[in-house]
């Protein structure tokens, strides 16, 4: 049994516990200029848990701290899927990390509206001028810039040249009809045409989004974003086109339980040569190698086919990147470090390592050595238009509803009409 003194000690320790939780707050906000000798510490939340970006950031932090001995950067790398909940927990308390990864779009906009993010328009004007507009667009709202991109890329079909050849396909398809033919040929040859991570949901939304871009055109997404109405016939048609593909049963066995980068997931299926193609972003080759064997020279890339009679240009690209935003209370050193990492001589190192694509207008092209990165980079540079991932473009609720409904369309539990109805309902409810 506890003595009375023990009881008092317990009560005191409880009070202390309470006190501890409040004393940790407010660090960093009062710190001085980056150049000063005053000690500055700031937190850097990022997604670089894998190579080569892990080393890239570790090196930049080391260099920056060596040049600014008064600055300490806390490098907090968080795995992609746990990053969003972690960030959401922090923003709920009305705070944002000093420097943090963002995909821009709807989520960043919510942070901006809540006053959590620093407006970089004038403070970073020198850097902003040197960044390509396509890379920058996801972080700009009403003419102001709230984040800087460190990566930009696009989604397209990665295909296994050997398997295509075996099925007698000489040229990658350029139209949707041709694409469906390709799928049929692969299937007839006994090859799984497409690898898909049904459990992860977001890879499925690429199909619907690209089809909607080709059928309805980029302008339709902008309109739907403001009117919150996705019920137009073109959006339904996109779902019907996707249904045509799903009806061919093109995906690997058990795809609805498959994740993206797990040992048996989409990337591994593709990387181990068990499927003909996958629709994925610029990171696909490295993840294929990471989760599977990798295809080496057998890996090819083609853009999403045009849809006959569609309003969208076949050169329009769908994708996104990654960037960094600065918390409103962050010390100036945070922005200074961000600018430092975006200098051509620094950022090109990340490009050279194959971790990201160029975001700067000048000084990075030579760094692109990887043939796959080069293909994506050139295709993107030649793109006639650009659409950000829909689960980033719109508020999180709408983005997740798109992912969810499209997954159900692919799973066979929702019709194309029900998909657009669900998305519209969520979008309308969000905007009320």
């Amino acid at each position: 049994m506890l003595s009375r003194r023990g009881v008092v000690a317990l009560a005191v320790s409880t009070l202390l516990l309470g006190a501890c939780s409040t004393s940790g707050e407010g660090g960093g906000a009062t710190s001085g200029a980056a150049a000063g000798s005053e000690k500055v510490t700031f937190e850097f939340w990022n997604l670089a848990t894998a190579e080569p970006m892990k080393t890239f950031w570790a090196e930049r932090i080391k260099e920056y701290q060596a040049a600014h001995p008064n600055v300490t950067i806390k490098n907090i790398a968080i795995e992609n899927d746990s990053y969003k909940p972690k960030l959401a927990t922090l923003t709920q308390s009305g705070k944002a990390p000093d420097l943090y990864s963002t995909w821009g779009g709807g989520v960043l906009k919510q942070h901006v509206e809540a006053g959590l993010v620093k407006d970089l328009t004038s403070d970073a004007a020198d850097v902003i001028g040197g960044i390509t507009p396509a890379a920058l667009s996801a972080y700009q709202f009403d003419g102001k810039t709230y984040g800087l991109p460190t990566d930009i890329g696009m989604v397209g079909f990665w295909y296994n040249k050997a398997l295509f050849k075996k099925a007698g396909i000489t040229e990658p398809p350029t139209t949707w009809t041709g694409f469906l033919d390709t799928v049929k040929k692969l299937k007839a040859d006994g090859t799984t045409p497409i690898a898909l991570a049904g459990k992860a949901k977001w890879p499925g939304h690429y199909y619907w989004s690209y089809l909607a871009m080709r059928v309805a055109g980029l302008e339709a997404f902008k309109q739907a974003g403001t009117s919150n109405d996705f019920t137009g016939p073109d959006f339904v048609a996109a779902g019907q086109k996707l249904k045509e593909l799903v009806d061919l049963q093109p995906f690997q066995k058990g795809f609805q339980g498959a994740d993206y980068s797990t040992p048996d997931g989409q990337a591994a299926t593709m990387g181990n040569g068990k499927a003909g193609m996958e629709l994925m972003g610029q990171w696909a080759p490295s993840v294929q190698k990471d989760s599977g064997k990798g295809l080496g020279d057998d890996l090819g890339f083609f853009t999403f086919p045009a849809v006959e009679g569609g309003k969208g240009a076949p050169g329009d690209a769908f994708g996104g990147g990654g960037g960094l935003a600065v918390g409103v209370n962050a010390p100036p050193a945070a922005l200074d470090f961000l600018k430092f990492s975006l200098k051509a001589e620094n950022h090109s190192k990340a490009v050279k390592a194959g971790g990201v694509l160029p975001v700067l207008k000048q000084g990075e092209e030579a760094a692109v050595t990887d043939p796959h990165v080069k293909t994506v980079s050139e295709t993107l540079a030649a793109a006639t238009g650009f659409q950000l991932y829909l689960d980033q473009e719109y508020p999180p609720a709408v983005g997740q509803e798109i992912n969810d409904s499209v997954a159900e369309l692919i799973g066979g539990t929702k019709t194309p009409e029900e998909v657009v109805k669900s998305i519209t309902e969520t979008a309308k409810a969000e905007s009320e």
Binding site: G94, Q110, G198, Q256, G257, D264, A407, E408
Partner: protein, 327 residues
């Protein structure tokens, strides 16, 4: 009791004693007793209020708002979140999935645990080893088991399908089809929890005096009759507690489902807690997900109180829920 505490506890010379002094002494002692009791309870009470009561109240408050979790909630919508909730196919599906798992748990998992417990209560070789073996899965966390089984049940490279194929059978869909996912999920839940319930039953069985079953046997009862009329009734309190834990655990099921299926495919294995996480953290609809948490809390509360009041009454004689009608 009263002679054990207090500085003025002296041996009573006679049963009558000096009555007035005694009453006064008892009164002040009781006052001091309260202070001590409050001091003892205070740390726990503070933690309880801070970590349990406050979040419940906050969730109740935010469930009345349409709130994306950033900045203070300002858009008051009344009970709108709750009406949307009960109109949602996903949430109704959550309730159905929870119901299925509860029924399966009661009909399959608990009888299985009971059977094993009865077997392992007999004198058999390696009894301690079997007990340890069956209890081992319970010692692993749900997260670890989730990862473990997502590898085992993986469609192509998974152990389960490889074994099926090596026996000349067709690989099965396990977690990847809406109509098989609940079965697979239940299999994993059972694998984790049957050992826990088995240990509960074993403890209960050891509390049953051997003389009773011996007496029944002498009276000519066979094994089944001994089990049915001696063991089972005396195991009643344990079974009632085990049922209670099983149901409450299923209502709150999250970790396993989140890791194994994420609620899919097409929401076929989604539970209330998974929806809550999905809406709260992925869709930033904190108000709506608070409403889910409130409903979850109310279901658990009503069930827990009702169960204690009507089922556990005999076992909990004197507890707060039955105090009113003590006979």
């Amino acid at each position: 009791m009263k002679t054990m505490t207090g500085p003025d506890a002296r041996p009573a010379l006679s049963p009558e004693g000096p009555a007035p002094a005694r009453r006064r002494g008892r009164g002040s002692r009781r006052g001091r007793g309260w202070v001590t009791a409050i001091l003892f309870v205070l740390p726990a009470l503070v933690l309880f209020a801070l970590l349990v009561l406050a979040p419940i109240l906050v969730a109740g408050y935010t469930s009345l708002y349409k709130w994306n979790g950033i900045g203070p909630p300002s858009n008051f919508v009344g009970l709108d979140n709750f009406t949307r909730l009960f109109a949602s196919d996903i949430f109704v599906g959550d309730l159905r999935n929870g119901g299925i798992l509860i029924v399966l748990g009661l009909l399959v998992q608990l009888p299985l645990s009971l059977g094993l417990a009865v077997m392992l209560n007999q004198r058999i070789r390696g009894r301690a080893f079997y007990r340890l073996l069956f209890f081992a899965p319970y010692m692993l966390s749900e997260a670890i088991i989730g990862v473990l089984f997502s590898l085992i049940l993986s469609p192509e490279a998974g152990l389960a399908n490889r074994m099926l194929v090596s026996w000349g059978l067709e690989p099965w869909t396990w977690l990847s089809e809406p109509d098989t996912v609940m079965f697979s999920l239940f299999l994993v839940i059972t694998w984790k929890y049957f050992g826990f319930h088995m240990i509960l039953y074993l403890a209960g069985l050891q509390g049953i005096p051997r003389e009773l079953s011996e007496a029944a046997r002498i009276d000519g009862a066979g094994s089944w009759n001994v089990f049915r009329h001696v063991t089972l009734p005396l195991l009643g309190p344990t079974i009632r507690v085990s049922v209670f834990l099983s149901i409450i655990g299923t209502i709150q099921l999250f970790d396993l489902v989140w890791i194994l299926t994420g609620g899919g495919p097409s929401h076929a294995s989604e539970t209330m807690a998974v929806s809550m996480f999905e809406y709260g953290f992925k869709r930033s609809q904190i108000g709506y997900s608070s409403a889910i948490s409130v409903v979850m809390f109310l279901i658990s509360l009503v069930f827990a109180l009702g169960y204690q009041r009507f089922v556990l009454r005999r076992d909990l004689e004197g507890a707060s829920t039955t105090m009113g009608d003590r006979r």
